[in-house]
Amino acid sequence: MSDEVLIKVDGVSKKFCRSLKKSLWYGVKDIAKEAFGLSSGHDRLRPEEFWAVNDVSFEVKRGECLGLIGRNGAGKTTLLKMLNGLIKPDKGRIEMRGRVGALIALGAGFNPILTGRENIYVNGSVLGLTKQEVGEKIEEIIDFAEIGDFIDSPVQNYSSGMQIRLGFAVASTLKPDVLILDEVLAVGDANFQSKCFQRIGKIVESAAVIFVSHYAYQIKKMCDRVILLDHGIMVEDGEAGKVLETYQNSQPLQIRESLILRGDDVREVAIENITTKVSTGEFLEFDLIISMEKKAQCAQSYLNLVDGADIVHAQVVIPDLERLIPYGHNRYHIKIGPLFLATGRYSGNFMLYGSGGKTTLAHLRHCFNFEFLGVPNLGPVYYPPSTVTPLRHQDKLSRKLLNE
C-alpha cells in the first residue's frame, strides 16, 4: 500500500426527495440555481426531503480496498454515484485522483440486435476505451467471456448469464487508478467466478478500490477496512472483521408476525421451550403442543430453518411425527440435529400435513427464533465437520510406491 491518497471524501452529504412530483419541481429549481451560479440552500432540507448520505468522510490509498456495507437504502449506491461524478454532493468535498473506473452497470450501451463482437466495441467506448485499446484486447475479452461461436450472433440470442459475462469481460479490462465495485465482484458459475476474483485481484493491487457488497465473505476476502452506513450516516469505520460483526449483530431477526394456520380439526397449536442458542454439532429442541377436535393422521411433517432473508438453510423431515394424533391436548418433544449451519440467527417454519399431504393440519411461519454458533457464513449453508487421520505406511498404495 502506497501513501498516495486517491480517494478523499470530506463531510459529504446528499439529500433526496420522497415524493416524485416535488422531486421533479425541485429539479427544475435546482437547474435554475445552477445556471445562475447560486449555491445557497443546498444544506437545508425542503419539505419531503431527507439526507440519503449524511456527513461521510474517509480516504482510500492506492493498493487499499475499502468495503462499504449497510442495509438496503443506507446510502451506499448514492455515495458511489457521487464518487463516480454522476451526481453532485449537497455538502462537503470529494477528490478523486487518476482514472476512475466502475464495475457497476455491466453491458451498458449494449444493443440486442448487434452481435456480441460489435457490442464489445460499443461497451468499451462507453467505458472510455479507445477503438485501438479494444482492438488489442478483443481476443482476450472473447476468450474470458466464454461465449464461443455466439460472439458473432445477436446479443438478443444470449442468455442473461452470457450477457453479464460479456459485460464483465469488457469492464474488467479497464486499468483504472480508482476502482468502484457496486456488488459486482463475480458473476456466472463457480468456475467463472474464480476467474473474476483473479482479475479483480490484479486490478486491486494497483488501484484504490471501494467495494459494496451484501456478502460478508466477499467483503472479508477483499477488504482491509470497512465502513458501515446506516440511513446515510457513517456508523463505524474500522477493521473488516470488527465492523462486519457489528453489522451482523445489528440485524434484528425481525420477529415478524408469526403466521399460524390451523386445519379445521385442530383447536390449538403452539411451540414452546425452544433452545435459544445452538452450537455446531448440537441439537435444536422444542415442544410442539397440538390440541385436536378429533383425531387425525399426520401424513407429512417438515421443519424449515430460514435466515433473515427467508433463505432455507435446512429442511428437516420429521418421520416420527407421521402418526395418528389423538383427540385432545397433545405435547411432543422434538429434537433436531446434530446441526452444521453457519453462524447466524435463524427462524423456523413448521408444517404438518394430513390425508396424504393434501390438507394442512398446521402451518407455522417464523414460529421460533434461535441463534446458531458455528462457522462464519462463507456463502453456502451446510458445514459438516471433518477429521483427518494420518495412515501408517503399511497400506497397499504406499507399499506399491516404495517398491517402484
Partner: protein
C-alpha cells in the same frame, strides 16, 4: 524504474455551481466535446445498424416521408384544393426542397430529447462525456438529410433545373436550419427529461409550426398566418436556402443572418445548460 505516479488528473466534486469557475467550465466543455467524438460515432453506428438490420426495406425508409409528403401537396395543388400562390420554381420542386429543409429542422428539434431519453439508464450509471449522446443524434439527422439529397438531385434532373451560382451557399443555409432546430431541442431537453409533456407536445407543435413556415406554400401577405410566418425564425432560413439552391437570389438574407447569429449564441447556451443540468437530471430521473 520508478514511475512518477504523483502527477495525476485530479477531479473535484463540490456542491458549488460550475458556473462560478467559467474558465475551468469552458475548458472542460471543449475537452469533453473532443473526447466524445469516437463514442458519438460508435453510438450512431450502433443505432443505425440496429434500426436497419431488422427492416426489410432498410435505408429506403429514409426516402419515403419526403416522397409521400411532396406527392400529397402536389396532388392537393393540382386538384385546386390548395392555393399556393406564385413562385419562381416548378411546384413539385418547391415542395420537395421545402419538405427536405423542414425535415432537417423538425428532426433536429426532436433529436436531443429523443436521444437523451433513450440513453437514460446509461447516463444514470456510467460517467462518460455527455455530449456524445447529443452528437450521435446530430449524426443521425445529418445522415438522413444526405440520403434525401438523392431525391433532390432526381427532382432537379427531372425538371431540368440548373443549380445557380449560389447553390453551394445552400449548405450554409442547411447548417443554419440544423443549428436552429438543435438549439431549440437542446434548450428544451432538461425540462423535457423531467416532464414528459414536453416530448409529447413537441410532435404536435411541430406539425402546427409547419403551417406557418413557407414549406409548401408562399406566405400570404395579410392575416394571422402572414403575421405568424413573419415572426417565425425558421421562415427566413428556409426561404433563403431554397432561393440559394434553385433560384439564385436572396430576398430574405438579412433576417436569415440575424437568426443564424442569435441561434449560435443560444446554441452555446443550450449546451451549457445541458451540462449543468445533467447531474441534477440523473438524480431525479431514475433508470
Amino acid at each position: 524504474m520508478t514511475v512518477n505516479k504523483q502527477t495525476h488528473h485530479l477531479t473535484v466534486y463540490t456542491p458549488e455551481s460550475a458556473i462560478r469557475h467559467p474558465g475551468k467550465l469552458l475548458s472542460e466543455m471543449f475537452r469533453d466535446l473532443f473526447a466524445s467524438r469516437e463514442l458519438a460515432w460508435r453510438l450512431f453506428v450502433r443505432d443505425f445498424s440496429a434500426r436497419y438490420r431488422q427492416s426489410f426495406l432498410g435505408y429506403l425508409w429514409a426516402f419515403l416521408p419526403p416522397i409521400v409528403g411532396t406527392f400529397t401537396f402536389v396532388l392537393l395543388n393540382q386538384s385546386g384544393i390548395l392555393n399556393v400562390g406564385d413562385m419562381s420554381l416548378p411546384y413539385p420542386a418547391y415542395v420537395m426542397i421545402g419538405t427536405l429543409l423542414w425535415q432537417v429542422f423538425a428532426d433536429s428539434v426532436s433529436s436531443p430529447i429523443k436521444t437523451v431519453t433513450a440513453a437514460k439508464s446509461m447516463l444514470a450509471k456510467i460517467n462518460f462525456p455527455r455530449e456524445a449522446i447529443l452528437i450521435s443524434g446530430m449524426l443521425e439527422v445529418l445522415f438522413n438529410f444526405i440520403i434525401r439529397l438523392v431525391l433532390l438531385v432526381a427532382i432537379f434532373i427531372y425538371y431540368g433545373i440548373v443549380p445557380p451560382v449560389t447553390a453551394p451557399l445552400a449548405l450554409i443555409g442547411v447548417f443554419a436550419i440544423f443549428c436552429l432546430g438543435f438549439m431549440i431541442g437542446v434548450l428544451l431537453t432538461p425540462l423535457g427529461i423531467l416532464y414528459t409533456d414536453i416530448g409529447q407536445a413537441l410532435t404536435m407543435v411541430l406539425s402546427f409550426w409547419m403551417l406557418f413556415t413557407p414549406v409548401v406554400y408562399t406566405p400570404p401577405t395579410s392575416g394571422l398566418l402572414a403575421g405568424l410566418t413573419f415572426i417565425n425564425p425558421v421562415s427566413p432560413l428556409i426561404v433563403t436556402t431554397r432561393e440559394w439552391l434553385a433560384v439564385g437570389v436572396a430576398s430574405n438574407f438579412i433576417p436569415a443572418f440575424i437568426v443564424f447569429l442569435v441561434t449560435l449564441v443560444l446554441l452555446f447556451g443550450g449546451w451549457l445548460l445541458y451540462r449543468l443540468a445533467m447531474p441534477i437530471l440523473v438524480e431525479r430521473m431514475g433508470g
